[in-house]
């Protein structure tokens, strides 16, 4: 089955009000080209589930978001995501604030088709008190109470991978695939942008196949977009763009700052965006961060 498509075709499959999972982690390996395509669209009222970074900030700033399910939203070296802060502090979005591990459990429950996974994570804290939708239940096996972390069912997931073939075999060669395997399985449809489209033979080498973290049946669409994670990183190919993130964060200090950011960078297509940020060669030359 050939699952290759364009970013525009991906966004055409998304509908107002959908719950969308976004892979990656903070400023790392986010499907930003697909996020940008949503910014160019009329989509609205989305619920976003994400280990959040600028993906969440930009969608909030653009008025695309009804609700965010999050444990953090951060650019790492800029700890607080400026546009997510604005959205929170103006009360313009609903939230479900949970623990990082609870999100993982919610994605697993959705992937496995079960309503919840019991855990002690969250007990005694405000993530339970402030989220009445998350129930605390008795156990049939002991005298303790447990958090019943509900399945985080996703209508769609957006993920960025290093390499993929047209059948949806996706490789993440960087050191961490984060929770992307669970985002892929938890969604009805998962769309994966990739830096490079490869022939299926590429994966015949077991060392390459070892870096494929979910089944191709979980991938509905593959969109080749070199540099598509910019300004986030796609290790080992390129790091995150510190200067761009600084400019992005600085834009939030001005009235109408996001509009200025969009005017300056977004463009009508990914090609225009890449031209506006210095071109693909410049993206690929960005050094990897040192942790």
């Amino acid at each position: 089955m050939n699952k290759q498509m364009t970013a525009t075709e991906v966004v055409a499959q998304l509908k107002d009000g959908m719950t969308i999972g976004i892979g990656g982690w903070g400023p790392r390996r986010k499907p930003m080209a697909l996020v940008r395509e949503i910014l160019r669209s009329n989509l609205k009222e989305l619920t976003i589930v994400s280990y959040g970074g600028a993906d969440v900030g930009m969608l909030c700033a653009a008025g695309k978001v009804k609700k965010v399910v999050f444990a953090f939203v951060s650019l790492d070296f800029i700890p607080l995501e400026p546009y997510f802060r604005q959205a929170r502090q103006s009360g313009s979005i609903e939230v479900m604030e949970i623990d990082e591990g609870m999100m993982l459990l919610g994605l697993r429950a959705a992937s496995w088709g079960i309503p919840f996974i019991p855990t002690e994570v969250g007990l005694g804290t405000d993530v339970i008190i402030q989220n009445p939708d998350i129930k605390v239940i008795d156990s049939p096996y002991d005298e303790k109470e447990w958090v019943a972390m509900p399945a985080l069912k996703l209508d769609a997931s957006l993920i960025h991978a290093d390499k993929a073939d047209v059948r949806g075999v996706c490789q993440i060669a960087g050191p961490d695939h984060y929770m992307d395997d669970w985002f892929a399985r938890a969604a009805v449809k998962t769309f994966v942008s990739c830096d490079e489209l490869v022939e299926s033979e590429y994966f015949h080498d077991p060392a390459q196949a070892r870096m494929v973290h979910w089944e191709r049946s979980a991938t509905a669409g593959v969109v080749p977009i070199a540099g598509g994670a910019h300004p986030t990183s796609c290790s080992p190919l390129y790091g995150f763009d510190v200067a761009h993130f600084k400019a992005y964060a600085a834009s939030a200090k001005a009235e109408g700052g996001f509009n200025d950011y969009v005017q300056k960078y977004l463009g009508a297509s990914e090609q225009e965006y890449q031209n506006n940020v210095g071109g693909l060669d410049a993206i690929c030359a960005i050094e990897l961060p040192t942790y």
């Binding site: 953090f72 604030e97 591990g101 007990l123 961490d176």
Partner: protein, 266 residues
């Protein structure tokens, strides 16, 4: 080992904080931020060689990495993969001790990383979010590092948002005991504390050189338990300072406490 005569407050805090990992045995020591990371690294290099550690990205190391940019030919002592999803498998098994820096810590030892003021629907100041604090706090031991000890951090009443469980009877989950919760040391720019006072009250463990009990109490928004004898926080040895210098060759520790004061302020 004899105490060094000159050392910074950050170095004193690193050495004091490293003590919290000394008796942990074979658990993952996670220090988030420069001082906690150096504290765990120092413990691994001295008092607890069995400590496990990551590179703060995705690999376990058998030797801690120095902080900051490293020479092009530097080879990390990688021993296994440890991506974020596997971190949680380890967290929930309890084999970890984390040291973190929340924005508020209340008298119950509950902490806040999420937001300040306002409401859940509309916080006045959005901070990081709960991150992994709820899971850490109920799964394994935790310590805190606070570079600026004041009544905004150690606030009166409960935290604005309770991100981590503490010794609060009103929030104790059914079937749990307060003793199940394991908050270890709280290291600040003034002192070392723990929650080992009567009924898990916060208590002074040691005062940094030149700091008084009154100064600590004045900067803490709730009553501090003061044992009959409160020692002075032990000064670093030259050996410890040399190890810290090797682990932090770019001296990032100099930027962790306001104005980088000397360790001895008497």
């Amino acid at each position: 080992m004899t105490a060094a005569s000159e050392y910074t407050l950050a170095e004193l805090c690193i050495v004091a904080a490293s003590k919290s990992f000394a008796d942990d045995g074979e658990v993952l020591g996670t220090g988030i931020g420069v001082v906690p990371r150096l504290a765990a690294s120092l413990a691994m290099k001295t008092t607890n060689p069995d400590l496990m550690m990551t590179d703060s990205e995705a690999w376990m190391l058998s030797e801690p990495n120095p902080i900051g940019s490293r020479a092009a030919d530097f080879v990390p002592s990688t021993e296994s993969w440890m991506g974020f999803s596997r971190i949680f498998d380890n967290v929930w098994g309890g084999k970890r001790h984390a040291m973190l820096g929340p924005v508020q810590i209340d008298k119950f030892g509950q902490s806040n990383t999420s937001a300040l003021g306002g409401s859940y629907e509309k916080p006045k100041t959005m901070m990081l979010g709960a991150r992994g604090f709820p899971g850490n706090s109920i799964s394994h031991p935790n310590s805190f590092f606070v570079p600026g000890h004041n009544t905004r951090v150690f606030k009166e009443g409960e935290c604005d948002f309770v991100s981590s469980i503490g010794y609060n009877p009103a929030r104790l989950p059914k079937g749990h005991r307060l003793d199940d919760i394991d908050i270890r040391l709280v290291i600040t720019n003034l002192c070392v504390m723990d929650f080992g006072g009567p009924d898990h009250q916060i208590q002074l463990v040691s005062l940094h050189p030149g700091v008084t009990v009154e100064e600590v109490q004045k900067n803490t928004g709730y009553p501090l338990y003061v044992p009959a004898e409160v020692p002075t926080t032990e000064a670093p040895t030259q050996e410890q300072l040399d190890i810290i210098m090797a682990l932090d060759p770019h001296n990032q520790r100099a930027h962790q406490i306001l104005d980088n004061p000397p360790g001895n302020r008497s």
